[in-house]
Amino acid sequence: MRPEPVVFTNRAGRRLVGMLHVPESAQVHPVAVILLQPGAKHRVGPHRMYVKLARRLASRGHRVLRFDFEGSGDSEGEVAETAVADFHSAVQLGRYASDVHAAMDWMAAASGTGSFILGGLCGGAITALLAGADDPRVRGLVGIGLPVLLDGSGVDASRFLTRGELAQWREGYVAKLTDWRSWLRLLTFRSNLRVILRVLAAPMRGRSARAAPASVDGAPPEAPAANFNPRVPAAFEAMVTTRPMLLLFGGSDRLYSIYQERFAEVYGSRWTSHADRLHVHVVPGANHIFSLPEWEAEMGAQVDAWLDRHFPPGRIGPTSHASPIHADLRTANLTVTPS
């Protein structure tokens, strides 16, 4: 069954365009899923990841909404940033949390849905975390490639490489020593010298891999400077202490080592008593967008297993019959206000 185009209004009055997948079965799971666009890409996701994932979730009985944030995809509005990194930072700091709340408001009005799982890749994952942390309607989170740092242009990336990144980048640089194009790039100042020097110098300094120590009074250790996302710790704690979370990473994705070393090793002691709610799964070798079919299949299987455990289909009861999407709330026409 194909999804239905929908249009709803965010809290700034902008019309947002989305696709709503409604299960064919009359027995609809009471918890709907909202998939949040990854960064600068829109509701379809890389290689239609969100289309395929939504079809999978709908086959399990969930209503699924995928939509474009303000200023993206087919939605109204504009974004002010001209640099992709600055746009990513704005997303990572929660620019679109309000659009997510509006999406939940709309689904509640349109179908009576009051419970949600928020999910997404990269920028969608961090948006899900920030939007869902303090919203009791959010019952769970699926974060794929969750970023815990800020991408913005003012950050010197060379200062913040993790052990995992150093290892990956070192392998890459050594492999390039015999590649004339790499030397050309270096000699024409197109290489990131700071990163190269730091990567190559790291083993000589005997770089330690210790995590930052906890402070004496048990408060969280001071976060690393500059590019760590200051919003992540509190949001993560609010979510993981009350709701189940599934975090999926590609084994080749640098964001995994960043998550582990810059976040989990530093803050993880704060929720050890809630460990049963957090499931982190790494798909070996997978890249950030899970571009091989076998990687995507494993990602899907992990989502299925997590849903089976925390939101099983068997919980669909006689009170969970599908509510029709009220026609007057579909509003499939989008009226653009000429600028």
């Binding site: 365009v17 379809v44 990194a85 653009v336």
Partner: protein, 274 residues
């Protein structure tokens, strides 16, 4: 103006599209925008959205759409072929003409979308003009570009190339399906794409604008596009300075102002390229 996301009939699938309709009534030719292939479609999306809005603000009906098996259209990626995309363009032309009350249609395509538009146009008598942004003149060159992406993935994954381009091409010819950036290249798509050569393909209609977009300033004359445009009775080829918005890069591209201006000037008969 209204923008209506909806489904309409394509070649073999129901296609998702957004119809931009001006108020009170459309005037002048209607437009169909033909998106590029794969991830280029995602990167260039907003540039096409804003071009459609620009056209609609000038009174034109505009349809943007997803080919079957891509975006939000029905079908799977294995359903995509050159033939299916050309049939879908025909469906899009019929849809926008229906909305606009008939009349001529301008096909605008980006990258492989431009190539597809050029291939579809001779079979569509209502297409009065073609606008080709960065057309890929030889499908074989584009396929080599896609295979190079696969090599880069192998390097990232295995630290070596385990199947070079020739091996990948052989595998495709023998029936394998290849994932490039997650998009499935079937043997049919490989064969049809590799066979494309716009320098010998039929050309129609008479008006065609081919545009090369590059960061060089001033822009470098696109000799290959000049030769291609010369095949049309009223063909023009230009180069403009702008970001390659169909690729991932550091600049967030939601518009391409110089590209829009040059295209609109040409459509209005105000731009005459050498």
């Amino acid at each position: 103006m209204t923008e209506t996301p909806h489904y309409f009939s394509g070649g073999e699938h129901e296609l998702f599209g957004v119809l931009h309709m001006p108020s009170p009534q459309p005037r002048g030719p209607a437009h169909v925008l033909c998106a590029p292939f794969g991830e280029e479609r995602l990167w260039s999306h907003r540039v096409l959205v804003n071009f459609a809005r620009e056209l609609a603000s000038r009174g034109h009906a505009v349809l943007r759409f997803d080919y079957g098996g891509t975006g939000d259209s029905e079908g799977d990626s294995r359903d995509v072929s050159v033939a299916s995309c050309i049939a879908d363009i025909a469906g899009a032309v019929a849809r926008v003409r229906d909305a606009a009350g008939g009349g001529d249609v301008v096909l605008t395509g980006v990258r492989f979308g431009a190539t597809l538009a050029a291939l579809a146009a001779p079979g569509l008598p209502s297409v009065g003009a073609l606008v080709l942004w960065e057309p890929l003149l030889k499908g074989g060159d584009y396929m080599r570009e896609l295979l190079r992406t696969h090599l880069a993935m192998q390097m990232a994954l295995y630290r070596e190339v385990r199947q070079d381009r020739d091996a990948l091409a052989k595998a495709l010819r023998e029936g394998a399906v290849l994932a490039v950036d997650g998009y499935e290249i079937t043997p049919e798509l490989y064969e049809q794409m590799s066979a494309i050569d716009l320098s010998v393909a039929p050309v129609a209609p008479s008006r065609c604008l081919a545009v090369r977009i590059g960061r060089e300033a001033p822009p470098v004359s696109p000799r290959d596009l000049v030769a291609y445009a010369a095949r049309y009775a009223e063909g023009s080829a230009i180069a403009i300075t702008g970001e390659p918005f169909w690729r991932e890069g550091p600049v967030l591209c939601h518009r391409s102002a110089a590209l829009y201006a040059a295209t609109l000037d040409w459509l209005a008969g105000e731009l005459h390229a050498a």
